[in-house]
């Protein structure tokens, strides 16, 4: 296994795997900026096997596995033969329409991975008939660099980092720099936050969270109202939600989100699953 030190090394490795491979399969679809961050911070390593490349990204005491393979057989051989996948805690995300994931899920099951959690994607489509966004909440403000550590602490406290891709501190700092985190304060404390990423006409709501002691005080609705109001040009809002989090799903439905057919099966090896 070797440490990845450049995006060109990633591209080269993927190209080698793809070459002349009509049954190519992969779950490695990182946004360029995200990929650069992982490399800069020494988080991404690679194991190259015959017809397959396995990328491991270091997270908080565990690894995310990404793969590119010429075909499912090469992937199965690589996954079975790579001892790190039995010795270290590892999760792998399979994203797509559910029926299409069965083959890959079976392949990973044979290598000791099982379902750890399941998320699905919800979309809110803005059409000419959508009522205009309400005015932003004047109590909601953009987060500053001084807020980064409290934001990270709240995220880590509130979410499962193995299933919900909690950002690193440097990612939060970068998001604050570009105005991607709104927050609500109460008496100087961080009451809640809304963290998003916008690309053209689509905005992805990454986290919308109110600290337990500040719930039912309308901080959440203020954040959501501000988010919509500040994105008048966006036509599609997206988010991922844990499939059995009925409370969150009901709230998202209230704001006009509905499942769009994509699921994320989070599989974990036996070092993580009970």
């Amino acid at each position: 296994m070797f440490l990845i030190d450049s995006t060109s090394k990633v591209a080269e490795t993927i190209s080698q795997t793809k070459a002349g491979a009509p049954a190519y399969c992969s779950n490695f679809l990182p946004a360029p900026r995200k990929l650069q961050g992982w490399i800069t911070h020494g988080e991404l390593s690679c194991e190259q096997r015959d017809g397959a490349a396995l990328f491991l990204r270091k997270d908080r005491g565990f690894w995310h596995l990404y793969f590119c393979a010429a075909n499912p057989t090469s992937l199965q051989q690589a996954v079975t033969a790579f001892p790190v996948l039995r010795a270290e805690p590892v999760v792998v995300d399979l994203v797509g329409q559910e029926p299409a994931l069965a083959g890959l899920a079976g392949l990973f099951a044979a290598a000791g991975f099982g379902l750890y959690n399941r998320l699905f994607r919800m979309a809110r489509i803005v059409s000419p008939s959508t009522p205009p966004a309400a005015a932003p909440d004047p109590h909601v403000v953009l987060a500053s660099q001084a807020d980064c550590q409290p934001i990270l602490d709240l995220l880590v406290r509130s979410f499962d980092c193995r299933a919900e891709q909690i950002p690193m501190l440097y990612e939060i700092e970068a998001a604050v720099e570009t105005g991607q985190i709104w927050m609500a304060r109460c008496g100087g404390a961080l009451a809640g936050l809304l963290f998003y990423e916008t690309q053209g006409l689509t905005s992805t709501l990454r986290y919308w969270l109110i600290a337990p002691e500040f719930r039912a005080q309308r901080f959440g609705s203020g954040l959501m109202r501000t988010y919509f109001a500040e994105h008048p040009a966006v036509r599609r809002f997206l988010l991922w939600v844990i499939a059995d989090n009925n409370n969150a799903i009901a709230k998202y439905r209230h704001y006009g989100f509905a499942p769009d057919g994509l699921v994320d099966q989070v599989l974990a090896n036996e070092m993580i699953r009970p």
């Binding site: 793809k18 002349g20 491979a21 009509p22 049954a23 190519y24 399969c25 992969s26 679809l29 994203v95 797509g96 329409q97 299409a100 994607r121 489509i125 803005v126 059409s127 916008t198 690309q199 053209g200 006409l201 689509t202 905005s203 966006v234 036509r235 599609r236 057919g261 994509l262």
Partner: protein
């Protein structure tokens, strides 16, 4: 080409795919959408787009998607 624009409109009615030269940069398609679009193209045209072709460059605009389909013998 109109058929292709109509097909995309059917998948993502919120966007006008005829006005963009870069669906990815304009936020009209992301990597996950590409996976869904491939499933629709496979079903609609009775083809099986290879994984090696599921790359952003092939889904950048109507011309690049048409070129991809041409590769599979489809004239959209």
């Amino acid at each position: 080409m109109n058929a292709l624009a109509d097909l995309l409109k059917g998948i993502r009615p919120e966007f006008d795919f005829t006005v963009s030269r870069d669906f990815i940069a304009d936020g009209m398609l992301d990597s996950f959408d590409m996976v869904m679009l491939v499933a629709t193209l496979d079903k609609t045209f009775g083809i099986s787009i290879a994984g090696v072709d599921i790359i952003p460059e092939n889904f950048q605009n109507l011309d690049t998607i048409a070129a991809l389909l041409n590769k599979y013998g489809i004239q959209p």
